[in-house]
């Protein structure tokens, strides 16, 4: 009878201990999962921001003439960049002026000072004709947008890469 009572007490404490341990492990697991999803959400928000900015910038560059419209004559006093010639094609002088502009000035004008960019102009066969900016080597987030456009009568690929 003595032995039986002793066993009952042991079973109770071991059961209780195991269930509490299990409960604590579950709580820690759920909390880690929550933190993981919070991190992923923040990463997604950051990636979406880079993506959206890339779209906006390539849109502006390809469709807008810039402000003032002949900004390529005086790039230092440019208010808004744009490479369109007003007829839907890219203006070669504007493209060249953009590619030769100071890297920091372009980032300031496009309001992407917290990111890096790389811009390439390729022909319709994909051969690189000209480029500017910093190539993404150690990019955490990198978004490349390619747009086809005309310069004169030649098809050109405009590839804009935004990264951080």
């Amino acid at each position: 009878m003595k032995k039986n009572q002793n066993k009952k007490a042991q079973i109770f404490s071991i059961d209780g201990f195991i269930s509490i341990c299990f409960c604590v492990i579950m709580i820690i697991f759920v909390m880690s999962l929550w933190n993981l999803y919070s991190l992923r959400l923040n990463e997604n928000i950051r990636a979406e921001e880079v993506e959206l900015l890339s779209f906006q910038i390539t849109d502006i560059l390809a469709k807008f003439e810039g402000s003032p419209p002949y900004w390529q004559n005086d790039p230092e006093n440019t208010s808004t960049l744009g490479l369109n010639d007003g007829t839907g094609k890219l203006d070669e002088k504007k493209v060249n002026a953009f590619l030769q502009m100071n890297y920091t000035s372009v980032k300031r004008l496009l309001n992407i000072e917290r990111f890096e960019y790389y811009m390439e102009v390729r022909d319709d066969n994909g051969n690189l004709l000209n480029s500017s900016g910093m190539n993404a080597t150690t990019a955490e987030h990198k978004v490349s947008i390619v747009r086809l456009s005309l310069i004169g009568n030649s098809t050109r690929q405009l590839r804009f890469t935004l990264w951080d």
């Binding site: 209780g16 900015l53 502006i60």
Partner: protein, 135 residues
């Protein structure tokens, strides 16, 4: 003698039960505190995402309107926003976003920092500038 030992063991079980109930109670309180904190974080995250959505919508409208002379766009914002044309930035209580153009002004033509209230907003491309106003 045997009887005394047995009584002592019963007391031990009762003491264990109290400790376990106490631990379970502490665990419950801890879990509830974590739940409340996470629920608060969730509400904040939702508010931040909602405000960010409004912010990005306005930033997109500004960028799109820049490309189309004379265009007018109406949209609805559910939060107050502060537009800083010089910084090319839109801020709300919990969110911030940017736009890649500089020529943004308020109704009176000023390009200094101004506020847009929740409600209907009109974004207009006028004289090569983007004018944002409540309607």
């Amino acid at each position: 003698m045997i009887l005394r030992i047995t009584k002592s063991k019963k007391g031990f079980v009762a003491f264990e039960a109290i400790i376990i109930i106490f631990i379970i109670f502490v665990l419950f309180i801890g879990t509830y505190a974590v739940y409340k904190q996470k629920a608060r974080q969730l509400i904040l995250s939702k508010q931040e995402i909602d405000q960010r959505s409004d912010c990005l919508q306005l930033a997109n409208a500004i960028t799109s309107m820049t490309m189309v002379r004379g265009a007018i766009m109406n949209m609805t914002s559910y939060h107050n926003m502060i537009i800083e044309p010089d910084q090319q930035r839109i801020t709300s209580e919990l969110s911030i976003c940017t736009f890649p153009v500089k020529n943004v002004r308020n109704e009176s033509g000023s390009s200094s920092r101004f506020q847009i209230n929740a409600g209907r907003i009109t974004v207009t491309n006028q004289n090569n500038g983007i004018i944002i106003a409540n309607t």
